[in-house]
Amino acid sequence: MVKPSPPQVSANVDKRRLLAHYRNMCRVRAFEETALEALEEGLVPGPLHLSIGQEAVASGVCANLARDDILLSTHRGHGHTLMKGASPLAMMRELLGREGGCCGGKGGSMHIADFSVGMLGANGVVGANILIATGAAHAIKLKGESRVAVCIFGDGAINRGPFLEGLNWAKIFALPVLFFCEDNQFAATTRSCAVSAGPGPSARARSFGIQSVTVNGNDVLEVDAIVRDTLASVRAGQGPRFIHALTYRLAGHTATDTAGYRDGDEVAERWRQDPIARAAAMLVDAGMAASELEDMNDEAGLAMRAVLDEARASPWPEDRHTHTHVQDTHGPGLVGGD
């Protein structure tokens, strides 16, 4: 790992909480590194979008969500899904297209989801999750429930119509939803700033009367704290809120993108802000032994290797599942439900 730049150690670091985040982030990183290895070995048939360098968002956001809170994610959603409580084995099986995958092998990485833990799906269409999350919040409000919905989307999504329509909707109905823009600076191979007019996502949110705050998305404690505060307001029925988190996509857009459109120095500099290394340094500062942290990281890696081994040994879905979960009424012949 590249040596991190000296982090700002806050006086009252909640060491236990930070340590939990550190472990979480190691798990997310390990899951994705293992998935990448699996891809390189030819085990992952579809595309992988890795969130390496963005783990603080996944851990910081989900630390504040209860199981029945709802989360919507993007094509880059492994971290969010894992942190929301999905089983890494079910996820890995999904990436490999196997039976026992969280979507039965039918969705793959871009549609990873675990509804049992309130994770209502990654999405293959940029920005589509914004409306779905808003609608989930609408249902929550209609039913008088106290949970909230959170929608994580990228900096690229702010240029799609559903961003406007969803934010406007959430505000006029005062819905319990947190919009979280995970700004990793890139939309595929394009620098978002080159195609996004105006002062940024927060200004857009405010133009709908939605309060917004910008956070350092590589500082897991900051993300955690701001999300906690913000969700308190959302849970209190004060309507939608917006958070803009600045981070950086350390890997390519997909696992096979070498990202030759940006230079190595830029990436190296960004590696110095790696949220995991940053958290580790803070923990060392706070008295933890570096070796203990290393061990924890290794443990996460080993666990994910075991997950992969189990996943690769899993059978393929049965052919009949091509025809299940389509719809209850199948038309001619009216073959029944599934």
């Binding site: 999405n123 409306l131 609608g135 609408h138 249902a139 719809q327």
Partner: protein
């Protein structure tokens, strides 16, 4: 049985289902003032503005939030105003609603009804007159419903609202005022069960929505020519009642499909193809389609009339069919 209009029957269906099930709600533009055709008149008073929701002009959001709300334990009834505007919400309907259950391996259901009024009505021109039902039949996961009578508009809408699958529910604007008997209370019409409007032995005329009435008119005229037409109202295009159509074609040996939509890649093509594949031996003459030409719909009434499916055109096609072989 009480008489009611097609419009009132749809309203009764929605009101009954909203009374029965507190998770049913409706969202769309202007609903609080009854909706653009009055299909929701009075419902906001009955159920409150939390369940009869006034939406901004945001078709994508109307459909897209309904997807999320349907996944989260409610049954939204989406009002698209004109089916043409649903083209602003296609990703939400086709990429999201239709596929969610499958993509997520059965973890979720999307029980929404998208009401999309179709058809030519009062010279509304190219962007307010389309009938794109065949598109939706092509999309796995979607149910497609096209009621032709007041009774069906009640029975099918109730079934649609209870469906756990997303339903594209296409009422015909020109039928709003149509009167007919409508059963009170629990009247449900099953998906995939066609209605034989008129039994006949010479030619099977398959249709749906407004064109069913045109076909019935044609049948009366055909009777005068000594041709005994069987008129079948499909009611739902997906699922479609292939059994009833097949039985009819096996009996008559002649198939004619009539619909208001453009013929090319319209749902008539699917019916003709399916029947030809499966009942080729039973067919005594080439099947026929009476449909709109592949042109946008013009504003000017005489030009609109040129693309209209009329009883005369159906009669002509049926007579041609009878004269073959």
């Amino acid at each position: 049985m009480p008489i009611s209009t097609y419009l009132e029957a749809g309203k009764a269906a929605l009101a009954e289902e909203m009374r029965r099930d507190g998770t049913v709600w409706a969202l769309g533009e202007d609903l609080g003032r009854g909706g653009v055709f009055g299909q929701y008149a009075g419902l906001a008073d009955l159920f409150g503005t939390e369940r009869i929701v006034d939406a901004p002009i945001s078709e994508a959001a109307i459909m897209g939030t309904a997807v999320g709300a349907a996944m989260t334990g409610t049954r939204p009834v989406v009002e698209m105003r004109f089916s043409d505007f649903a083209l602003c919400a296609i990703d939400e309907l086709v990429n999201q609603a239709a596929k969610a259950r499958y993509m997520f391996g059965g973890q979720t259901r999307v029980p929404l009804v998208a009401r999309e009024p179709v058809g030519m009505w009062r010279s509304s021109a190219a962007q307010h007159s389309q009938s794109l039902e065949s598109w939706y039949t092509h999309i796995p996961g979607l149910v497609v419903v096209m009621p032709s009578t007041p009774a069906d508009n009640k029975g099918l809408l109730k079934t649609a609202i209870r469906s756990d699958d997303p339903v594209v529910y296409m009422e015909h604007k020109d039928l709003w005022g149509l009167q007919g008997e409508v059963p009170e209370g629990e009247h449900l019409v099953a998906f995939g069960s066609a209605r034989v409007v008129r039994a006949g032995t010479d030619v099977s005329i398959v249709s749906w929505s407004k064109t069913v009435h045109t076909a019935s008119e044609a049948a009366a005229e055909l009777a005068g020519h000594g041709i005994d037409a069987e008129i079948i109202d499909l009611r739902t295009l997906w699922p479609w009642d292939q059994e009833t159509v097949s039985a009819s074609v096996v009996k008559t040996g002649r198939l004619l499909v009539a619909h208001e939509a453009v013929g090319v890649s319209g749902f008539g093509a699917e019916i003709v193809a399916a029947i030809c594949e499966q009942h080729f031996e039973s067919l005594r003459a080439a099947p026929q389609r009476v449909t709109a030409p592949r042109v946008p719909i013009a504003y000017s009434p005489p030009l609109e009339d040129c693309v209209r499916v009329t009883a005369a055109r159906i009669v002509e096609a049926a007579r041609r069919l009878m004269s073959e072989r």
